[in-house]
């Protein structure tokens, strides 16, 4: 009885957070180049926010998923997006970052501190959509969803978890023969059920930010970021 209620409350909380978590005054800006590419830049500093900051140091790949919607004077909408991955690498003690644009290009960097990461974040210019008419008047809405781990980490964990469910825990091996025996997988006793449980590992957005981007005139054609 209480679980659906709790789920509903969580959903409502997330919706409230998503509705207006960030002041519009600190919104990003955008340009539409002569090549018709819409670039989003000047993303507000959300990395230092208390609801985001703890996820950056988990060692998992925090994914910031961008969804950009550009609307022209006639109401025609153009959708686009991008992705920013940030992972704390504890061995080297650096942030490994990757900014992926809508056209598939990626910009990877290794950043040693949170301050520089914030600066890098603010300096990002992400080609988010293409095919826009240059010189037009656009209203651009930028939405960023924060996902605590990447798709590959999800897959690895699903596989590992499914294997853990389907196999009995091996006994401590004391001899090479026992080690060899222990290495053999024990047959799963409920494959479908294991799969059902393992596939409950999903990537959910923890928090969502939405801004209306302000136009930033582009002086001339720029090369795509790589």
């Amino acid at each position: 009885m209480w679980r659906p209620l709790r789920t509903t409350l969580c959903a409502v909380s997330l919706a409230v957070l998503a509705a207006g978590a960030v002041p519009a005054a600190e919104g990003p800006s955008f340009t539409v180049g002569r090549d018709g590419v819409l670039r989003v830049s000047g993303l507000p500093d959300i990395l230092s926010r208390p609801e985001v900051r703890p996820h950056l140091s988990t060692g998992l790949t925090t994914t910031f998923s961008l969804r950009v919607t550009a609307t022209d004077e006639t109401g025609k909408k153009t959708q686009g997006g991008g992705r920013i991955d940030i992972r704390w690498e504890p061995w080297d003690e650096v942030f490994l970052t990757a900014a992926l644009s809508a056209d598939g290009h990626a910009r990877r960097e290794s950043i040693p501190s949170l301050d520089r990461l914030a600066a890098w974040w603010h300096s990002l210019e992400i080609p988010a959509a293409a095919g826009l008419a240059p010189g037009g008047r656009w209203t651009v809405r930028v939405e960023v969803n924060v996902i605590p781990f990447s798709a590959s980490e999800q897959r690895d964990t699903q596989r590992w978890f499914s294997d853990s469910l389907g196999q009995a825990p091996p006994a401590p091996a004391t001899s090479p023969q026992e080690q060899a025996t222990a290495a053999r997988p024990v047959p799963a006793n409920g494959g479908v059920l294991d799969l059902l449980i393992a596939t409950s590992i999903k990537r959910h957005s923890l928090i969502s930010f939405t801004w209306t981007a302000t136009p930033h005139p582009a002086p001339e054609q720029r090369k795509p970021t790589s």
């Binding site: 061995w91 690895d156 469910l165 409950s200």
Partner: protein, 408 residues
């Protein structure tokens, strides 16, 4: 359903649920163990990672090994942290799965229980039908139950009862036949002893008269005695002739004839044959054709009229009437009927059930063999029809002759 079966069903249900729970519990225990999302476990992993880093710095020669271990631990940490993010979803999915499986088991068990109940109901219905058949007198009952539970045992008892009933019926029939034969033997003995005794006495008297001499009175008496002995021998001859006629009832020579015409002729011909009887016949509007041996039909009708006349005479009823009527009857088979109705005293109740059996008669011994109705029925059966006692009471008796209807 018996208490034992109900308890067994419940026990199986609980056992199945316990088994599933145990299986899930094992899986879940292993899962939680692997889960390792407890903060202390995560803290230990963090410290382990730090240790590997410090070891690598302190022992640069083996830095690669430490890095490899570091990566292994870190992969595990990644799994734990991803699971920690999804802990609620995993628990919910697990509970949903468990609920679905348990529900499935309960539904299966319930379906099995219902199926068993339906099967029991069907078996009970079959048993009920068999009991109805048994109460209706059927003796060839096969319930077809192979199981040895309560229903199966009752079914076996029903079958056994039907077998006992069949055996008793056969014995009863055998005893009835024996009784009939005893009665017939007694009648035969009496029928033969009476004329033989009389003839013997008369022969003794004749011998004594022969010793007296050739006097006219003695001669006259001898002639009378000779005539009397002849009569006794004739009675024996008639007696044996009755047997012969019963044993040698010929097969009828069937011809298509109008039944109404035949009966009308007979009624005219025998109108004065029985002084105490008046024969009445209302011929049908249309000819009723049947395949019949006219002479044998006449024999049957004469026998029935004889019986009516004798009954009237014996019971002092005086005059009576015999009425013939022809009709059509449809009782699954198309038949033509000829009813012979009298207003006599009726058939005695004690012989109604075996009226058509040989040697069944209400007359005294020596006054009839009781073969007439048996012969008459044999004749009608040989015609493909039958002779039956339609009704009898003190107000009269109706015999019905049945003939198969022939296509026009």
């Amino acid at each position: 359903m018996s208490l034992r079966v109900t308890l067994l069903t419940l026990l199986a249900l609980v056992a199945a649920a316990a088994l599933v729970f145990q299986a899930f519990q094992r899986q879940l225990s292993g899962a939680w163990f692997a889960f390792g999302v407890h903060p202390d476990v995560l803290s230990l992993i963090d410290r382990s990672l730090d240790d590997q880093k410090r070891l690598a710095r302190a022992d640069p020669e083996h830095a690669a090994d430490y890095r490899r271990r570091f990566d292994e631990v870190r992969a595990l940490q990644t799994h734990f942290k991803v699971l920690a993010y999804n802990r609620q979803e995993i628990v919910e999915r697990y509970e949903q799965t468990l609920l679905a499986v348990v529900s499935g088991i309960v539904i299966l068990a319930g379906s099995g229980y219902a199926w068993r109940q339906i099967r029991q109901e069907l078996r009970l219905a079959r048993l009920q039908r068999s009991l109805s058949d048994l109460s209706a007198g059927r003796t060839d009952i096969r319930v077809g139950e192979r199981r040895r539970d309560v229903i199966g045992r009752i079914a076996a008892m029903v079958e056994q009862t039907s077998r006992v009933m069949a055996r008793d019926r056969r014995r009863l029939a055998s005893l009835e036949n024996l009784s009939a034969w005893q009665d017939a033997a007694r009648r035969h003995a009496h029928e033969m002893r009476t004329p033989l005794t009389a003839a013997k006495l008369e022969l003794i008297r004749m011998r004594s008269l022969l010793e007296v001499g050739d006097e006219p009175e003695a001669r006259a008496e001898l002639n009378r005695l000779q005539e009397s002995v002849g009569q006794e021998i004739d009675r024996l001859g008639l007696f044996t002739q009755g047997f012969t006629s019963f044993a040698r009832v010929p097969q009828p020579t069937l011809k298509r004839q109008d039944l109404g015409r035949l009966v009308g002729e007979l009624a005219d011909l025998f109108a004065s044959a029985w002084p105490e009887l008046t024969l009445r016949f209302a011929p049908p509007e249309r000819p009723v054709e049947v395949l019949v041996d006219a002479e044998m039909l006449r024999q049957v009708l004469v026998n029935l009229c004889d019986n009516s006349a004798l009954a009237l005479r014996e019971r002092g009823r005086g005059a009576g009437t015999v009425a013939f009527s022809i009709a059509a009857l449809d009782e699954g088979v198309a038949l033509n009927t000829l009813d012979v109705a009298d207003d006599g005293p009726g058939v005695l109740p004690e012989i109604r059930g075996r009226l058509f059996e040989p040697y069944t008669t209400s007359r005294k011994i020596g006054e009839g063999m009781g073969l007439g109705l048996a012969i008459s029925r044999k004749i009608l059966l040989d015609h493909g029809g039958d002779l039956e006692l339609l009704r009898t009471s003190e107000a009269g008796t109706v015999f019905r002759l049945l003939f198969p209807r022939v296509p026009s």
